[in-house]
Symmetry: C2
Subunit: 641 residues, 2 copies
């Protein structure tokens, strides 16, 4: 008969107490099996099938041989230290089983448009330790005794940064050598007096070229406690990626300035989050960050020059981990900040984030993801194979380089419908000041539908269009280069000037939509997917939330598919960052995805130019045959091609 | 018949060229054997006996099985990457053998008082790499292509810090993707354009409580190019270790101030070294540092509070590696700064340095090392066993707490002889201002010899001493507490005041010498060594250089042994740092020594107080029986005990 003694820690009030239970056995049972019989809890995500490697226990006493699976699932140091998997270990005599304290909880992460379920297992952990007190006879240092206690707790190795060493003697002695250690890999982020295992915070950030959004996440629950957004402080140095690359390429001082600008923005967000939650910055011990490749470079202060020059090479593509203090990021100075991997110079970590959040990598259906910004990032997935590309759409969809264009702020026309006359909605309900991206797409789609714009993009003369109301005819007038269309008359606008759409504006939009549509077509061609074959089309990014699907399809920006197959997934990039923050598995998946996505450099393909020329034309006006409920009553008109 | 093709790099002018040589073989020879036959050089320190693990080669083609020794000597990544040891690998078909470039050279490091020979194999290396250029089709980042080239060169893994990433794109492109990478373990210290393998500099530093000394070392040759010394800037916050600990314990701001003070001193030394050699600070890529345990804590900005309180626990005892930028040390910001391990709170890395420099750990003879300062650090070695202790000698030997005491600067009496009258030498040849440590020891030894001081340390009345000259009798006069001895008369001193030795001064010196002598006795007792058994006594530190051996022995500071067994080894601590700087093996030995030295906490031993009381007495005046040539003519006098 063999005695098996289980020992574990149990929380009682705000302290931990050691508990133990003894059972006897004669048979050839596993430690996990015996624990279950004895009602002693040992974590085993895989249900004891020897796959998850989570049922680690520290065993003293005679056991069966170490299995091959354990050799794979356990680190050498763990095996050497007596760690075994409870689902494999079988007692061969009296043994003592120490069960490490760990908390795992499954939560459902709801994202706008997608729901990925991941276990809450961040790559950062806290351990409560009782450190041996110093003695006159053994002059071992505080660090060495702490590391010994850490090792005993099952963490094989640890490096304590000098910054944490600074007050380690005081921290150890404040609560009688009882401390909580925050570990990331072998990096010790923090040592705190007493038991602080009940709090662990992280930050998930999406650095957009325009907007930076950060969410404070409770890493024990996996829940996002608050979100804050600020405009990217780099905007002062250029609105788009290319102009920032150019500025940064002027020299080291300029590069540093851009870095500082975005770090200031991030620190502002951290301050906002503190106001919302009361969690002070120093308590944030993990950060995961996504952004396009250029934003990632600039946030790290790394020269982005060659991203913008053929062959468009980033300084790094795989993930980067850096200490917060080095970025001057106002969280715990030893917090590890992870920049997710990039696919290429213009397909960045934000795209990886979207892929993770939407589960794109796991799709067996044919799914297309389009993220429209200054660059359109496209990912197409079919049976685990993923191809991606980036197309330089230009900032037209963001209202830039459009005569009356503006960002989606107060006074922007964001919605347009044409019947007898033009009807529109203005953000904030004020007098209009200009048109934003979604308004532009609506406007062009409607002008195409009623025949004021033809398939080549020409703004027709009033005389060329049949059956228009006098109000609409009135709006067409000659402009500098070709005709222009008056969107709002001076007497109704904020600044007393007509808001117009010029022929040049339409050409800009044709270039932008042509680039994105051509990119999609090249990817479709690579995977052999026709428009009809597309099972789902995901629109990512804030823009994807506001765009009217039927207008986007009407102007030929999207493949022609039933509208109900199109879904907006919102700020999925940051959701991806959050998944990586709370789940080590997601973080590892991010690297796998980045290496598996096939990147297609469009400028290197002879068929791209052709597809681009083709895609610049607007589609034949066949919308009436689509199952659009909103506009199917409107009769398309003949158009000169 | 099998073909074996050797490929290696050879330096030609300032570039490297690939060379190759092909041989054929039929037998079962090792790659190393074949290389030797072909006159192709492969490094093998152990002579091919499979022990040193240096004959690493990268082999493509069929080979014998990997041996157990190779599994031990090679990293997993190396084995997976096709690296084998040439002394074990045997071709089983046509193979190609790539030989990594490495430079090993033995130089003799001459130190004052000792000569240790170590191979110049620093733990930091430079590799010249030709990195693959980026291509439109493969979007791999600059970092990833650099790491691939590094991996191919035989370095299994590398982490490029963000600071090095900053201008990596420019560095790569400046010389057509040809770069030199400086590696320390997996930390990449620097990436430079072109081939810079012909220079590699390091810094060996000894932070003394009073003086900081740094040497610039050419890590390719192992030679010290220049040495610079400055007073420790912390002196403003207290002359000795304990007062600095007290100051630092006042709060974080005070601790930071002390750290900054010594870092400023170090940066001053770096600037001095630049003036002497023309080597700019940024070109220094490795630093090894010794100092007593407290100085090490303060230089790192780590709280030393508990070093000074029982049980005298340091915050760290094992070695610490830290990035220069984190210390704000003005060398290459990513240079690794190593603080050698400490033995205990009062036996620090400086002692480890002395042990390394003197080869103490390798001694089979009975050797005693005494480093006299405010604390006396003692190490005794016999047949590989080492014991150590520290005794709080107090600052008397540094001239502090002595009425006319002063540091060994201009105007200090440094040498005293008594015949008919007192004779002395003054540093700088000026009028005397006070007495320094070596002068004090001389003076007391001489006063003991002529009977003016008795064995209990009492300054006799003039009437009690027989046979003194009138001049000497004149110098004895009543003072505040007991008698005093006039060392120099007011009319001959710099400030027109008598320079005297008081009864209290003698008590201070008795306490100091008693502490050191008692420490030595306890260690002797532990190893069972009588005075006669001591084969060699090493006096370390600057003080050991200036002290007169016969006086030190005469006053009972040292064990009574023949004078020719006593040797001054000068600043051996810094020599130890230099050994570690140029030899990885020495660095590893430092850690081994630190863990092997048995530390004896004297305050925990009941026999110490007794030994201390005993050792405070001066020895019976038996010097005439010693083989001292200088003073053997002087007749000892009877003394009241």
């Amino acid at each position: 008969m063999m005695r098996v003694t289980f020992i574990w820690q149990e929380q009682s009030g705000d302290s931990w107490q050691q508990r133990q239970k003894q059972v006897t056995t004669t048979g050839d049972k596993t430690v996990l099996g015996l624990a279950r019989e004895a009602d002693v809890k040992i974590d085993a995500t895989c249900g004891g099938r020897g796959r998850c490697g989570r049922c680690k226990v520290l065993i003293c006493g005679p056991l069966n041989e170490v299995s091959e699976s354990e050799k794979q699932l356990l680190a050498k140091e763990e095996l050497a230290g007596g760690v075994r998997l409870a689902c494999y270990a079988r007692p061969k005599g009296d043994i003592q089983v120490e069960i490490p304290t760990s908390k795992t909880e499954l939560v459902q992460i709801l994202t706008e448009g997608t729901d990925q379920t991941v276990p809450v297992e961040p790559d950062i952990t806290k351990r409560y330790l009782v450190v041996e007190k110093p003695q006159l006879e053994t002059p071992a240092g505080d660090r060495e005794r702490l590391l010994a206690a850490l090792h005993k707790s099952g963490q094989p190795a640890g490096k304590i940064p000098v910054r944490v060493m600074t007050d380690l003697p005081e921290v150890l002695r404040r609560r009688d050598h009882k401390v909580t250690v925050t570990c990331w890999q072998d990096h010790i982020v923090a040592v705190e007096s007493g038991d602080t295992t009940d709090e662990l915070y992280g930050l998930a950030i999406d650095i957009g070229t325009t907007t930076v959004v950060g969410g404070l996440v409770d890493l024990r629950q996996g829940k996002e406690l608050a979100v804050a957004a600020r405009l990217n402080g780099q905007a002062a140095y250029g609105a788009d990626v290319i102009s920032r690359v150019e500025y940064a390429s002027n020299g080291a001082a300029q590069l540093r300035r851009l870095q500082q600008a975005v770090v200031d923005t991030l620190n502002g967000i951290v301050a906002d989050l503190e106001k919302k939650t009361g969690v002070s910055p120093g308590r944030i011990s993990r950060v995961v960050l996504v952004g396009n490749t250029c934003m990632q470079h600039l946030a790290l202060g790394i020269s982005p020059t060659y991203i913008a020059r053929s062959p468009y090479t980033p300084a790094f593509s795989q993930r980067i981990d850096v200490i917060a203090a080095q970025l001057r990021l106002d969280v715990h100075p030893e917090a590890v900040v992870t920049f997710l991997p990039n696919v290429a110079g213009f397909v960045g970590a934000d795209t990886i984030g979207v892929v993770l959040a939407t589960g794109l990598a796991k799709q067996s259906r044919r799914v297309v993801m389009i993220d429209i910004g200054t660059n359109g990032e496209l990912v197409m997935s079919y049976e685990g194979k993923m191809v991606s590309c980036s197309t330089a759409a230009g900032p037209a969809f963001e209202g830039a380089q459009i005569s009356s264009g503006m960002r989606a702020g107060e006074g922007a026309i964001e919605f347009v419908e044409i019947d007898q006359d033009m009807d529109s909605l203005v953000i904030g309900g004020t007098r209009p000041r200009g048109i934003c991206g979604s308004g532009l797409i609506d406007l062009v789609a409607e002008l195409l539908r009623v025949g004021i714009i033809d398939q080549t993009g020409r703004l027709q003369d009033a005389a060329e269009v049949d059956g228009l109301s006098p109000q609409l005819l009135d709006r067409i007038r000659p402009g500098e280069m070709g005709n222009e269309f008056v969107v709002a008359w001076a007497d109704a606008t904020a600044d007393g000037q007509d808001i117009v759409l010029t022929q040049k504006d339409i050409r800009e939009l044709q270039l932008a939509k042509g680039a994105i549509r051509a990119g999609t077509k090249i990817l479709q061609k690579m995977l052999g997917i026709e428009d009809d074959d597309i099972d789902e089309l995901l629109l990512a990014g804030a823009f994807g939330n506001y765009i009217r699907k039927e207008s986007a399809m009407g102007m030929g920006l999207l493949p022609t598919i039933p509208l109900d197959r199109i879904r907006s997934v919102g700020n999925a990039a940051r959701v991806g960052a959050r998944l990586c923050l709370i789940s080590q598995a997601s973080l590892e998946e991010a690297s796998r995805v980045a290496s598996e996505i096939e990147y297609v450099e469009l400028s290197g393909r002879p068929d791209f130019q052709e597809a681009f020329m083709d895609a610049m034309l607007f589609p034949p006006n066949t919308l009436s045959s689509q199952d659009s409920t909103e506009i199917d009553k409107k009769v398309p008109r003949d158009q000169a091609v």
